[in-house]
Amino acid sequence: MLSISINFIFKLTCIIFFIGLMGIILNRKNILVIIMSIELLLLAVNLNFAAFSIYLDDIVGQIFVLFILTVAAAESAIGLAIITVLYRLKNSIELDPIKKKINNKL
């Protein structure tokens, strides 16, 4: 069984999750870093699922982890594909404003 306390693991996963969150929010330029941060978020979630699965002695959590792994792989693959397309269009992967600034007065 688990030798370290569940609280410790929960704190760890929280920290990882918030690092990922901050990575998304504080990062202003790099799309790759955002995708990495999302992976980090999913990783934290996965860890949490796995830990609780063992803690509660329930297999469902691990099944979920497997699902999330596949979803994360698919998501990062699609994300990278989008980045490639974006790069082909703009010759950079900087995060410009998505919306075009239109001089619209109300």
Binding site: L21, I24, I25, L26, N27, R28, I34, L95, P97, I98, K99, K100, K101, L106
Partner: protein, 676 residues
Amino acid sequence: MYLLIIFLSIIGSCLAGLFGRYLGSSGAAVVTTSCLIFSFLLSIFGFYEVALLGSPVYIKLFTWISSETLNVDWGFMFDTLTISMCVIITFISSLVHLYSIEYMSHDPHLPRFMSYLSLFTFFMLILVTADNFVQMFVGWEGVGLASYLLINFWFTRIQANKAAIKAMVMNRIGDFCLLIGMLLIFMNYKAVDYASVAVLTPLFQETTINFINVKVNLLSVVGIFLFLGAVGKSAQLGLHTWLPDAMEGPTPVSALIHAATMVTAGVFLLARSSFIYEFIPNILEIITVFGALTAFFAATTGLVQNDMKRVIAYSTCSQLGYMVFACGLSNYTVGFFHLSNHAFFKALLFLSAGSVIHSVNDEQDMRKMGGLKNLAPFTYSMVVIGSLALIGFPFLTGFYSKDLILEVAYGKYSSLGYLSYILGSLGAFCTAFYSMRLTYLTFLSKPMGHRKVICYAHDSGTYICVALGCLAIPSIFIGYLTKDMMVGVGSSFFGTAVFVNLNNFNIFDAEFINTFYKTLPVNLSLLGFFLALLLYVFYNNLLFKIKTSLLGKKVYNFLNRKWFFDKIYNELFSQFFFKFSFSISYKFIDRGIFEVLGPTGLSSIVLGAGAALHKLQSGYIYHYNLVILIGITSLLGIRQIYNFVGFFVDYRLLMLMVVLYIFLFNYPEHIENNND
């Protein structure tokens, strides 16, 4: 036949008004005048039947309003009071019509004028013949309307417009009070016809009602409001200011409206409502005070007016005061007797004043007339007859009624009776003084006008002279002829038309008062008459010195400016209401608060809030992320906080705070946008 008395005038009015273009001036004049003369002849016959033979006539035409307990009929009731009024109205009116044919002959709108005159007569007849309060109110408002049209006849003159509006508004204040009185009657009696109200009144003697949260006696409050209606129409102190200004209309209008008919409506109402007033002695006292004060006030004001018509207007106001305090002392018959006599000689005075004004090229200022005695002798004799009748010269018409009023005032043996006697006697003195002053300045003094005007001054033509002559005869004789009939001791002339409580009945006492007090009013009148003659003929310098002394100037100013009533009303009420209605109710409330809370404010707030929310979408992904984060955090946070404060804070308060936030922080922003 009785209906024809009333409806002939409206037929004439419609013919002249609607087909005046085809009838032409003379056609319209002939139609309306002949209608009125027929009406007069019929009402003479009606007078014979109703008043002399003592058989009141009641005609119910059809039902006007029938809704549960409210039942209003078009009913015409001819009792003595009504038919006497009918005779007076149609007589004066037909003579005024006749007079106007010549007086207004150079006016291009003669058909319209004739139509209005007939319309006025019609409404006046409706007023007096009605058998219920609602129908009476039709006539009451109708004469107000017709007086507006007639005062405003020369609609291009700004003064006439202003005077007409003033007359209408001042009357409307009284009308509103009358309406309240009528509604109170209906609410409590469940009936508006005179017969039911008269029969039921003793039952309500002790009834108290809740009127604007005050417990008051029903009859008192009804009496007060009916009297306030009469105050407006009869130009008693307080609402009298419209009457002198109404002299802006043509002179026949003044004679018809402001001398003989319209102003008498208030006195008529008091006499007609005697069955209510007899049960409320306290209100009768108020009426007495108002009447006595009006009689005195108007007589003193008349002393120093320089406009010929205004002098007569104030004398009308003063005489109405006499009538009203006679009614207040429960002598309705005496008041009505004075009303009928006054109609004749006041119409005579006004019409001869018109004749004078006509002859001196439309000059109304008495100081610019003078010396017309030999130039217009007929008019002179008419004015003298009218003036002597007015001041109550012995054995002329005014003597019989005016002195009787003062006698019954003294014979009341109450302090209010004495007060009204004293004020009335002083008023009689002033009346004599200004009547003589008017006669002197117009006819006896040296010519003051331009030479050309004086050269062409002459008596007026046939129609005017016939009208004046017809009025002069009753002015001399009618008082003597009808005294025993109307106010004779034990006369049953009025029958049930006027009700006098036996406790208030004092006409016997009035017969047996001290000779000194009986003759005092006549003596004072004669004194005033001769004093004026003396002062103006021989001691003009002394008069001038008195007028220009320090005190004299102040008194003269005070009286000449009508006791400053107009000034006070203007500055205290009109200006205040003008300011209030513009800066507060219009600018602050209507265009201020309602606009901000209503269409403009709401739309600008919605637009401002929309713009602010729109700015949230900057297009940067990390902004969106931040918003998501903040959203999740605050939702979770609010949930946590709510666990603590949820016991005593309603969630609806939160919504209120959000709305308040939108209002407070978005409104100013949008004002700038609006100005762009």
